[in-house]
């Protein structure tokens, strides 16, 4: 297949994902350009998390190919063939990608500062002084400078998630994946985290993929929205189109349900 490397920064080419007998993604194709802020929405179990986890190399694929910046993710080029990737290839590809999890997954035995400064030391070999300097800048950016010596158990959910975002940023990935990063938070803490996402969106050209149930944030934040159901893209387009004039019946039904549940989509 011919890739236009500008438009096709992230490409899923007829990807199939199975868990045993259960087919979760079937012939999924999509492409995302560099610097795009994309939201993935859809009903529970539609495969949104799975897509992010495939990109983060946490889930392998059973068919098709994924490309990042023209390089196959789960395969390696060998002569003219693509063969399954080995760990070295995955390590190389993973450098470009970062992920923020729904349940933070901070390291409980490290302080907030160490959570952010240690990974670049451990995996990129950055020296302690400069990784800590960078970590302090990031702590400042997420508004938690006063918490650098706190352990995760001493932080609120919203604070933990902002640390987790800073931790992902410290690795300077080209692609950032966010999997429902506010859905484990108390409602009053959600806005702080969304503000940090807005900041990142505005101040960097990092490509961002966001799985979210916060429709109004997806509307405002992203330049493109994918609506998934049963492991397929049902509809995609600019947020105004998807949220105000959805074409597909399934999209309309999904949004209607969301509005009926009392959530805003504008």
């Amino acid at each position: 297949m011919v890739l236009d490397t500008k438009r096709d920064f992230i490409v899923f080419d007829r990807v199939e994902k199975r868990f045993g007998e259960l087919v979760v993604l079937k012939d999924l194709s999509l492409s995302i350009a560099k610097g795009e802020k994309v939201s993935l929405i859809g009903p529970s179990g539609s495969g949104k998390t799975t897509i992010l986890r495939i990109l983060m190399t946490l889930e392998s694929i059973q068919g098709g190919h994924v490309y990042i910046d023209g390089e196959p993710l789960w395969h390696m080029r060998q002569n003219d063939d693509l063969v399954p990737a080995n760990e070295a290839h995955l390590r190389k590809m993973r450098k470009q990608i970062g992920m923020v999890f729904q349940h933070f997954n901070l390291f409980p035995h490290m302080t907030a500062l160490e959570n952010i400064s240690k990974p670049p030391q451990l995996s990129l070999g950055v020296d302690k002084a400069s990784s800590e300097k960078r970590a302090r800048e990031l702590l400042d950016m997420v508004g938690l400078s006063d918490k650098e010596a706190s352990y995760p158990s001493q932080l609120s959910g919203g604070q933990k998630q902002r640390i987790a975002i800073a931790r992902a940023l410290a690795m300077e990935p080209k692609i950032l994946l966010f999997d429902e990063v506010t859905s484990a938070l108390d409602p009053e803490l959600v806005e702080d985290v969304l503000n940090v996402l807005r900041d990142i969106g505005r101040s960097t050209d990092t490509t961002m993929l966001l799985v979210t149930h916060e429709m109004s944030f997806a509307h405002e934040f992203s330049n493109r929205v994918f609506f998934f159901d049963e492991g397929r893209v049902i509809e995609e387009g600019p947020p105004d189109n998807i949220f105000t004039t959805p074409k597909e019946e399934r999209t309309q039904a999904f949004l209607k349900k969301i509005i009926a549940a009392g959530m805003r989509i504008d």
Partner: protein
């Protein structure tokens, strides 16, 4: 049979000398079990099926045979095969190996107590395997292991008495020699039992104390 105080007091220096051997053996076998136990635990988690299978059976074999048999094997049989080791070394090897097999289970439980999200975060951050173990997994796996590991060390401390059966002059060995010399076992054996008790009891209590502290911490972290 009556207790002879002055005889008992006269034995104390020799028995304390034996105690230093007992403690040495305990420490050496513990250090060995801490390392070899981890190797066993990692071996049983290997990606390679053959390696996994081999480690599984080695550990089973060690656990399902008496430590005394293993000790006799190292001390009496290995020399026939050309490997002659000092008695204390043979004994420590057997005790250490036996404890390693049990420690590997303790490690397994500790490693499995590290939540899946931690492994995934480490993978997402591209942390290489050695650093993953040293900086992420073990610091979280070790603290909850302390009570179980502590209990095995205390068992080991008592089992060092078996060293006396392969001529080592540990505390028990010393008591046996004294008994053979004087035909009076009452005082030396009682003294040795008391010393085991005086050391074991506070150790057991502090392990229980740590156990409670850890479970309280865990609740706080939730």
């Amino acid at each position: 049979m009556n207790w002879d105080w002055s005889y008992a007091f006269s034995l104390i220096p020799r028995i304390l000398e034996g105690l230093t051997i007992t403690l040495q053996a305990t420490v050496l076998a513990t250090v060995m079990a801490a390392f070899v136990g981890l190797v066993f635990a990692l071996g049983k988690r290997s990606q390679n099926r053959v390696v996994r299978w081999a480690f599984y059976w080695v550990v089973e074999f060690i656990r399902r045979t008496p430590v005394l048999v293993q000790m006799y094997f190292v001390f009496f049989v290995l020399p026939r095969l050309g490997v002659t080791l000092p008695a204390l070394v043979s004994g420590v090897l057997a005790l250490g190996l036996h404890t390693s097999a049990y420690m590997s289970e303790v490690y397994r439980a500790g490693i499995e107590s590290v939540p899946k999200g931690q492994w995934e975060a480490a993978r997402a951050l591209n942390i290489p395997p050695l650093r993953l173990w040293i900086d992420i997994v073990l610091p979280q796996a070790l603290p909850p292991m302390i009570p179980a590991a502590g209990n095995y060390v205390m068992m080991l401390f008592k089992e060092t008495a078996l060293l006396s059966t392969i001529t080592v002059l540990d505390m028990m060995g010393t008591a046996r020699v004294i008994g053979n010399e004087t035909y009076r076992y009452f005082e030396p054996i009682t003294l040795v039992g008391l010393i085991y008790l005086v050391i074991s009891l506070p150790a057991a209590m502090s392990i229980r104390f740590m156990e409670e502290k850890i479970s309280r911490n865990k609740k706080m972290l939730r």
